[in-house]
């Protein structure tokens, strides 16, 4: 079968990924994010800087396990002055990270600078744009800097929308770095902080499912990256960093005139974008970034296009580490003399639009054709949907090259891909393994709805009720908007009342405000707050603060909800506890049907608190 390649066994420990002295460790993308602040702190110490790090954000796939990884690494984080404070939600976490950049503006700062890391899933980026725009315009501190890690679920594997955050960051003038794999999460992460310190901007680090839910044996030597600080670029006399007092129009001037161009210059002198495949007389270019770059290289390998063949077809590949803002000078050097450029990037265009803009003023004869989402006849080439695969890139590449180059390996690969598509397209009798509530999950009972009523879903494990045939649970909202959609429907429908599912994690994150809105609007709605003492959907983390059943009931009562029913599998545990609460009643879970029939007749907002510990969590705690 092959050569004997069982090599000597290396002594390995799980702590390697955080211990100082090792050079190589097996780590996931998420663990790379945890290692990053330690690496940066190590580099600062070597540069004689006494810095600290502040991390905050909110969990969500593909960044579902960041907080658990950070808690596990607590002893190493402490040694590197890394302080982790989980956010109540994404936007308040971003506000806290903004605050960390103001530490050195006032007396008492104990460090030369605090560098910040914010993390959040796509929807988290969206809800935090107000903060990010303010914080980016305000600017980072001299020896601080901010890395905003955005978790994008391109193929919508575990989200309510497929996500791509670059356009949001472009809107806030925040430069975007796009790592291709776990190694580049480490490398570009370090560049990110240095870029943020130099340019005064927040810097976004794109974290896609492919990199976060994957693991490699990574090189974690801090000296792997050497930073070059631009000399030619003219910074403003008073610098680009945060200051107080400050004026918004001065912030805008610094941002639009200096900080963005400083970022581009930093990218140029540090080779964040570079040509990775070249040949004597290039005519076909590929410009690509992030994971798409790996798909390109894999496709080339699969089609047998090695250096020799690349030279023959005149192929030049340009890998972009900072897709926005696209640094023009190195891009110009790449485009020089090419007939055609194929843009390979996932989802909606970031590079293609900037590239065509930068090429526009070329003399027509010297201007290469640019194709990407579409070819020159407008036919689909690399669609902006879900995810790219090496097979799709191979088909696109082959369709362009076939006009003047033929090879057995390429044809065989294309045949194999096409044949595979055909054979798998045949209809076969198969069934689907659809996720469901765990055995003994409280949602099995709590999401039931009485005859004639229906419920709205929301964000959390209970969202699964929306695809269960026997639950009459339809539609959902963004996290924290639960119930507010009903405010816009109630006045216009004969349906008198709806139930709204709301997890305790989501309630604590932002759902309380939706309840306040419902009360204010006067619509007939019953919130079924599912208190299972865990944020189960992302792995059963505890709530980010304390929320006892008593807190929940008193808070909701204080919001002028005058009908609150507590349902539990052990009601006797709560007997006699909530006398002072208006409209309170206590029930065993077997009375759910009768209770809901009463609640649906109640005028205004009512709340049912269904208390039973998450089954998966109970299993973990047993």
């Amino acid at each position: 079968m092959g050569t004997d390649n069982s090599k000597a066994i290396h002594k390995v420990s799980l702590d390697d990924k955080y211990a100082l002295d090792t050079a190589r460790a097996y780590m996931t993308g998420i663990e790379a994010l945890v290692r990053l602040p330690m690496l940066q702190h190590q580099r600062d110490q070597r540069a004689g800087l006494n810095t600290a790090a502040f991390i905050s954000g909110y969990r969500g796939s593909p960044l579902g396990g960041v907080d658990q990884a950070l808690w596990k690494a607590r002893p190493w984080l402490a040694k590197h002055n890394v302080h982790f404070q989980p956010g109540l939600n994404e936007d308040l976490a971003a506000t806290a990270v903004w605050g960390s950049q103001q530490t050195n503006l006032f007396a008492g700062a104990r460090y030369d600078g605090v560098f910040g890391m914010w993390y959040g899933k796509g929807p988290g980026v969206d809800r935090s744009m107000d903060v990010i725009k303010h914080a980016n315009a305000f600017g980072t501190s001299r020896f601080g800097g901010v890395l905003a890690v955005a978790g994008d679920d391109h193929a919508c594997k575990s989200s309510t929308l497929p996500h791509q955050s670059e356009h949001m960051f472009i809107g806030a003038s925040v430069p975007v770095l796009s790592p291709a794999n776990v190694q580049e999460v480490l490398d570009l992460g370090i560049f990110g902080w240095e870029l943020s310190r130099y340019s005064g901007c927040w810097v976004a680090l794109k974290a896609i499912t492919e990199n976060m839910d994957s693991a490699i044996s990574a090189d974690i030597d801090p000296n792997r990256i050497s930073i070059v600080i631009p000399e030619e670029f003219q910074l403003p006399a008073d610098g680009v960093h945060g200051r107080w007092p400050d004026k918004p129009l001065e912030q805008e001037l610094r941002l639009n005139k200096y900080k963005i161009y400083a970022a581009r210059e930093f990218a140029r002198v540090n080779n964040l974008n570079r040509i990775v495949v070249d040949c004597p007389n290039p005519r076909l270019g590929i410009i690509t970034t992030g994971k798409a770059y790996l798909d390109v290289m894999q496709a080339l390998e699969d089609m047998g296009i090695d250096d020799a063949v690349a030279a023959e077809i005149g192929l030049r590949v340009y890998k972009v580490g900072m897709p926005w803002p696209l640094e023009p000078r190195t891009t110009h050097d790449f485009a020089e003399g090419l007939e055609e450029i194929l843009v390979v990037e996932e989802k909606r265009s970031i590079i293609e639009d900037q590239l065509t803009g930068q090429l526009y003023n070329y003399p027509v004869a010297a201007r290469p054709r640019v194709i990407g989402e579409f070819d020159e006849e407008g036919r689909d080439l690399l669609p902006n949907l879900a995810e790219l695969t090496p097979a799709m890139v191979a088909l696109a590449r082959a369709s362009r090259v076939r006009r003047f180059y033929q090879s057995e390996t390429m044809d065989r690969r294309i045949r194999c891909i096409e044949q595979k598509e055909v054979s798998l397209a045949q209809p076969r009798e198969t069934i689907e393994r659809v996720p469901h509530f765990c055995s003994g999950c409280p949602h099995n009972t709590s999401t039931r709805v009485p005859e004639g009523s229906h419920a709205f879903g929301g964000i959390g494990c209970h969202y699964m009720a929306t695809w269960m045939p026997d639950r009459e649970t339809h539609t959902f909202t963004q996290m924290g908007g639960e119930g507010a959609t009903w405010i816009g429907q109630a006045p216009f429908t004969d349906t008198r009342h709806i139930f709204q599912n709301l997890g305790d994690g989501t309630y604590f994150h932002s759902g309380l405000l939706a309840i306040r809105a419902a009360v204010a609007s006067g619509v007939n709605i019953t919130y079924k707050i599912l208190y299972n003492d865990a944020v189960a959907m992302t792995g059963g983390q505890p709530i980010d603060g304390t929320l006892t059943v008593a807190d929940l009931i008193n808070q909701v009562s204080a919001e002028r909800v005058n009908r609150i029913a507590l349902v539990s599998d052990h009601p006797e545990a709560w007997r006699g506890q909530f006398h002072g609460v208006a409209g309170f009643s206590l029930h065993h879970r077997d009375e759910m049907d009768a209770l809901q029939r009463e609640l649906r007749e109640y005028q205004g907002t009512s709340v049912m608190v269904y208390v039973q510990t998450c089954a998966a969590e109970k299993l973990r705690r047993r």
Binding site: M1, G2, D4, N5, S6, K7, I9, H10, V12, Y26, K157, N181, V182, T209, E210, D213, S214, A215, I216, S217, K291, L294, D295, M297, Q298, D302, T389, P390, A391, C416, K420, S423, L424, R428, E429, T430, I431, E432, R433, V434, P435, H436, C438, S439, G440, C441, P442, N444, T445, C461, M468, P469, D569, D590, R597, Q612, A615, A616, K618, L619
Partner: protein
């Protein structure tokens, strides 16, 4: 709750390894829920200590060459440790200083959803470009779950002539089985799909769930068992020593996991010995009887125990009457077979006597003893129609818990079953029992209507009519609801049987 195939059709059983002690299942309106208080799940003693002598020493296979990255796609059910398999292989490769990369596609899968995970191992790290395995470039498809293995996500990576597929073909129910009692598990179709893509020569199927459950005591060991099974055939590019080191590093159920891996290796090396051992521990559930004569004989014996020989004889006469008029009596899916099964089901009404007999016939306690150990006490969750409370809102009978003394009461009640249908039969007067006796009469009347159709072209309609009682499930209000649904279907089928054209619906023009 998962399906359990029996001679009398599909029943239900509790999957003890996934139960999270919520106990709301006990409210299910069926007399079969018994609480075992104080007992412990009896761990099948696996194969016992002497088994090591049963197997020859295991040869070391030649590991796959790494002149180009060796790509493995692992599929499985969320929450059963599928990601652990890829992580162990990758960590073992890292321990050996090789290049490695894993990529997990999970989504909400940790709740019994589909998991597909990729692991690539190479001589050095920079040989691995894309972390995700490209189309048609899998060297090993380790299918820990047949359903997920037969999806596009997994088979898209398979190429005939390159990929070896090692697949667990156990029927692990999906969530659809919870709501649909007749959900089908198309094993053959899915297995064909896999072997079509990988080629029969390179596809190995094995029921690792059943083997792991018997030899290791918990189905959670089936994934690692499958890894050992593939490793022994030289399909996993890391050494056993490195894998065991990775298992120790992982630090979870180290002994159990090593043993699961070892059993997988043994099964690859000496499959017949392992399967023999498993058959001894838990004989395969025999397939259902197919021939109409065997079915009738079996049911006559059951009805004799149920009531008496006379009652059983009535049943035989009725079936033979249909048999005589049925040209396709010999075939497996004939009206005769349907009548043999369904007439029995209606006649063997699971009334108080029958529930008592089934609990006290000794077989129930023997089955319990095989499943639980320790000094345990039984509690029976029942809602006997005669003296149970009714839920004020729904009007349905409410279940209560009865102590161990109930078992003795069952013994007495079982002996009184000769009273069934007599003037002294105190249980016979309930509405539910009267309706169940009427069901028998209706079915027999229906059979009379079907007899002439058996030789005509409406055989298929007659067959579905004969099979209707198969879907008359449940007790009390659940059975009533099913009966109403089946009545609608029955009227529709009867109209088809008698050839009345579907009468056009006349539109009443509103005032």
């Amino acid at each position: 709750m998962i399906p359990k195939e029996t001679e009398l059709g599909r029943k239900r059983q509790i999957d003890q390894s996934s139960c999270n002690k919520d106990y709301s299942c006990a409210n299910g309106f069926c007399p079969s829920f018994v609480s075992v208080i104080g007992g412990k799940l009896r761990k099948p003693d696996g194969a016992g200590a002497d088994v090591d002598t049963l197997f020859d020493p295991l040869p070391e296979p030649v590991l796959p060459s790494l002149d180009k990255p060796w790509n493995t796609v692992v599929t499985g059910v969320g929450g059963t440790g599928v990601l652990t398999i890829t992580a162990l292989v990758a960590m073992a490769a890292h321990i050996e200083g090789k290049g490695c990369a894993t990529m997990n596609q999970t989504g909400l899968a940790q709740k019994f959803g589909a998991v597909v995970s990729h692991v690539r191992v190479s001589a050095s790290q920079d040989e691995i470009k894309a972390v995700r395995i490209p189309a048609g470039e899998a060297d090993l498809l380790l299918g820990c779950d047949l359903v997920v293995t037969s999806t596009y996500e997994a088979l898209g990576k398979v190429a005939q002539g390159r990929t070896h597929a090692v697949v667990n073909d156990a029927e692990v129910p999906t969530s659809a089985f919870i709501l649909d009692p007749d959900a089908r598990f198309p094993t053959a179709a899915m297995k064909a799909k896999v072997s079509d893509e990988a080629g029969d020569a390179a596809t190995f199927f094995i029921d690792s769930t059943r083997i792991a459950t018997q030899l290791l005591g918990d189905s959670i060991g089936s994934n690692l068992f499958l890894l050992g099974y593939a490793w022994q055939q030289g399909l996993v590019p890391v050494s056993a020593v490195a894998l065991e080191e990775a298992i120790e590093l992982n630090g979870v159920a180290v002994g159990f996991n090593k043993e699961a891996f070892l059993w997988g290796r043994r099964c690859a090396h000496q499959p017949e010995r392992v399967l023999e051992l498993v058959e001894k521990l838990a004989p395969e559930v025999p397939a259902r009887l197919q021939g109409v004569e065997e079915i009738v004989d079996d049911r006559v014996a059951r009805l004799t125990d149920y009531q008496d020989a006379a009652y059983a004889h009535q049943y035989r006469q009725r079936v033979e009457r249909v048999l005589a008029a049925d040209p396709r009596a010999g075939e497996a899916d004939s009206v005769s077979v349907a009548v043999a099964r369904n007439l029995y089901k209606l006649m063997a009404i699971k009334d108080e006597y029958e529930v008592a007999r089934l609990y006290s016939d000794g077989e129930f306690l023997r089955k319990l003893e095989r499943q639980f150990e320790g000094d345990y006490e039984l509690r029976f969750n029942l809602a006997p129609p005669l003296f149970s409370k009714r839920d004020p809102n729904t009007g349905h009978l409410v279940k209560q818990e009865f102590g161990p003394w109930m078992l003795r009461a069952f013994g007495l009640l079982a002996r009184l079953r000769f009273l069934r249908g007599s003037v002294l039969d105190v249980f016979g007067r309930t509405e539910e029992r009267r309706q169940e006796r009427a069901d028998i009469g209706d079915y027999l009347a229906l059979l009379e209507e079907l007899l002439p159709a058996l030789s005509g072209d409406k055989y298929a309609v007659a067959l579905e009519l004969a099979r209707l009682p198969g879907r008359l499930r449940g007790f009390g209000h659940v059975k009533d609801r099913n009966r109403e649904l089946l009545a609608l279907r029955r009227t529709e089928l009867l109209r088809q049987l008698h050839g009345d054209p579907a009468t056009p619906v006349t539109i009443v023009n509103a005032a």
